[in-house]
Symmetry: C2
Subunit: 97 residues, 2 copies
């Protein structure tokens, strides 16, 4: 009845990151930071976790002469996100508007 929710995605900030990345080809650290309003430290940690899980790739380069970290969702990440959304619906159905 209640499927297990992927604990990696069941986190406000990581979910927001994945939600952003699911909709675009790529996004850099600062963009994600402003969109989510997260602190840099927190975002850094959570991005690392998503990277470690293979849900996103993280590419460190430069934009002009400033460092720039670019994130992309992977196919595995897309799939996990999709499954999470489906699983979550089971939990919300009773109160859906």
């Amino acid at each position: 009845m209640f499927p297990k929710l992927d604990p990696l995605l069941h986190s406000e900030l990581r979910l927001a990151v994945m939600s952003i990345l699911a909709g675009v080809e790529s996004a850099d650290f600062t963009y994600i930071r402003t969109q989510t309003g997260a602190t840099a430290g927190n975002l850094s940690v959570q991005i690392e976790k998503l990277d470690a899980a293979g849900y996103i790739t993280v590419e460190k380069g430069f934009k002009g002469r400033k460092p720039c970290t670019t994130c992309r969702i992977t196919p595995a990440g897309q799939e996990a996100f999709g499954k999470y959304v489906e699983a979550l619906k089971e939990y919300l159905s009773s109160g859906a508007s």
Copy 2:
């Protein structure tokens, strides 16, 4: 863009409990336990939190001579659950099927 998710509801077990209670007049501890598959200890703790928040009421009585704990969602709980569902949709939209 990403609304804050009520941390009390953004928990797998508490969300499942609320999901169950949103759909029925009341449910007792053991019913919730079997539906969710949670351990009694964990369920006890999480029910206490929902109670403390005023999202549910907890009534201790007896069924025959055995103790029986009955839970009910409150209007505040219904509202919080509804708002949580709405907020979550913002996070899921990118990957909705």
